[in-house]
Amino acid sequence: MEQNSLWMILIFAVLFILIAVILYFQRRKQGKFDERQELMQGKASRYALYTFCGAYIVYILLRAIKGEKFLPYSMLAFTISVFLGIVVFAVYNIFHDSYFTEKQRPASYLIMSAAMILSQSANCVKIFRGEITLEKEPGSIYWCSLICAITFAIVFAATLIRIILSKKEQE
C-alpha cells in the first residue's frame, strides 16, 4: 500500500510540473501586464489579504463571544474567507482593467467561468436536495463546490459588466 501511495504522489508531482510548464509557456504568449496593471494587482492583493484576515477574525470573535457551539464549522469558515479574498482580488482587478493582458480575450474567460459554474453546480445537487446539511456534514467537499460555484458566478458577472462598460466607453 505504501509503495502505491508513493507512486501516486510521484505521478501527481510529474503531472503538476507538466501542467505548470505548459501554463508558463502559454502565459508567455498571452503578453505581459503593463506598469499600471501591476500596481493595481499589488493593491488588489493587499485588499484581498485584508478581506481574508478580516473575515476569519470576525468568525473567531463571534465564536469567542457566543461560545464554541456557535457555528462550529471552522474549516468551512476558513474556506469562505479564502474565497472572499479571491473574489475581492478578481473583482478589483476586473474593474480596474488589470485582470487581463491586452492579448487575452475576456470573452473566452466568460466561457471558462460558465463551464466551471456548471461543473461545480452539478456537485451541489445533493445540497440543493437537502441530502447534505451543515449540521450533518459540515466538512463535506460539496460545500467547497458550492463556494467555488458562487465565486465563479461573481467573477463571471463582474467580467460581463466590465465588458459592457468598456464597449460603452469606446463608443
Binding site: 503593463d34 506598469e35 499600471r36 496593471q37 482593467d97 493582458t101 491586452e102 468598456s166 466607453e169 469606446q170
Partner: protein, 66 residues
C-alpha cells in the same frame, strides 16, 4: 489634472487610444487614465509616448505654473 495636450497630440496624428496603447506597449485603459489625469505614468512610459507622438516631454507632460 487632465492631460489635454496628450489627447490633442494623439488626435492630431489620427490615433485611437487603442492604437497608441499598442505602439507603446500598454493597455488602452492606461492611456485613457493618463489622459484623464487619473494615473501618473513612469518616465519610461512618458518617453515611449513622446517618441510615438514625435513630441518632447515638456510638450506633453510638463505642468506649467499658472
Amino acid at each position: 489634472m487632465k492631460n489635454l495636450r496628450l489627447k490633442a497630440a494623439r488626435a492630431a496624428m489620427d490615433l485611437s487610444q487603442e492604437k497608441l496603447a499598442q505602439m507603446v506597449g500598454v493597455s488602452r485603459q492606461t492611456i485613457n487614465l493618463i489622459e484623464k489625469g487619473d494615473y501618473n505614468p513612469s518616465i519610461r512610459l512618458c518617453v515611449a509616448i513622446c517618441k510615438a507622438l514625435s513630441k518632447t516631454l515638456d510638450e506633453l507632460f510638463w505642468e506649467a505654473d499658472e
